[in-house]
Amino acid sequence: MLTKRIIPCLDVRDGRVVKGKNFKGLSDVASPVDLGSFYSECGADELVFYDITASAEGRRLFTQILTEVASKIFIPLTVGGGINTLEDFGRVLKCGADKVSVNSGAIKDPQLILEAAKRYGSQCVVLSADVKRVDGSYHVFAKGGREDTGLDAVEWIKRGESLGAGEIVLNSIDTDGVKQGFDHQMLSDVCGSVSIPVIASGGAGCIEDFIELFKELPFVDAGLAASIFHYGEVSIADLKKVMAANGIPARL
């Protein structure tokens, strides 16, 4: 059976992972290569590397790091952050990324989804959306969740799917960082009827949050989180065991 995926997300700035501590046996928790290897060995099903660098120098370093990660870690790698053009897709795919996540870049130019899907295949185009409740509806936010685009999230996700996105990451700004569980209501309302894989993000605080997510929302294919993994609050190995014990298909 196809398993539910667990995906740690690593924010990288100037070649270093931004968050991270409490890793037993890891001398340098800020090294994307070491942390990536650590997660891969713990059973992470996929890794997301998010480039939060603004400078050209930082971007160059990121590309270098990505190449190093991809030459040592043999599980799927998704790369996001600063993807605005087809050239950006090419740049990270050439360094060993398998999928590319677009967010603000696709909001500015939705055709980017179509063009990238045509050139590289839908399987490598991930549409990531930061969504927040505004006046009773769901709005898509750009620029790392700082700017309300006014776009209706349900419409946006549908549009992304029809333009050729191969996967959706839905990040709830409302539950992000709250650690009280994933945003089930938003996930159902926004992604309940899409026919491509859905990755839930925002709100996980403990193992049970993932169990509830997969039990209650069968259309969700994967759970993504950052700090709870980086700070050691949830161990991926333990999480996988509990998933299996609860009858949720997991890769052990």
Partner: protein
């Protein structure tokens, strides 16, 4: 030396790195002479069947791959590369394949609909296409590339079409509503629907076993 065929389709970086991690020399190439000199050939591929077949023909490698395989050289097709080994594909039209393995490439959706019709299930409605993620192998026939692989090991799949091949050529399947072909073999020609280069240590063991043929 292992030759990884570069015909402008797919991410070859991981494949090359995987062999490097195993301490094996792999050359990414579109040169027929290099293919002729290689001990093993890997045919990768992502995207659509028709485009890929066309690119392989335009690059002049279609016949080279066939003749090298006919001479008995170990050949491994991965993902779309495996599908190209079969006789025919129905992905966005009808296309001729390399014909190195009997069988045809068909939509997963059709297979699920067929099963639903006969069993009253609702897989076609419930399961997403493509199958994307980790699924476990159910071994159906012995194959030397699985000499270090256990039944039930997880591999990473991304595909919307599957290989409908004779049972004697299918070496493993995975369960996705129906049993979908996960790997095939016909003599010295091998195919994996999943990506061994993206399937962690378990995948590397398969690449290593292939390279030791």
């Amino acid at each position: 030396m292992i030759a990884v065929i570069d015909y402008g389709v797919g991410n070859l970086f991981s494949l090359k790195s995987s062999f490097a991690a195993l301490g094996l020399e792999a050359v990414v190439t579109s040169d027929p002479l290099v293919l002729a000199k290689a001990d093993h050939i890997v045919l990768p591929g992502v995207g659509a069947f028709g485009d890929a077949a066309e690119k392989l023909k335009t690059s002049g490698l279609w016949d080279v791959v066939k003749s090298e395989a006919h001479c008995g050289k170990p050949l491994l097709g991965i993902c779309l590369g495996m599908q190209l080994l079969l006789e025919k594909s129905y992905e966005f039209g009808q296309f001729e394949g390399l014909g190195l393995i009997p069988g045809e490439v068909k939509p997963i959706a059709d297979k699920l609909a067929e099963k639903d019709a006969s069993e009253g299930s609702s897989f076609a409605a419930d399961l997403k296409i493509p199958q994307m993620g980790w699924n476990s192998l159910i071994m159906t026939n012995d194959s030397p590339i699985f000499k270090d692989t256990k039944n039930g090991e997880f591999m990473y799949f991304v595909h919307s079409f599957y290989c409908d091949a004779p049972a004697e050529n299918v070496t493993s399947v995975c369960e996705y509503g129906a049993k979908l072909t996960a790997s095939v073999q016909n003599g010295n020609v091998y195919g994996c629907q999943f990506h061994p280069e993206k399937s962690g240590p378990a995948g590397l063991r398969i690449l290593s076993a292939f390279a030791s043929l």
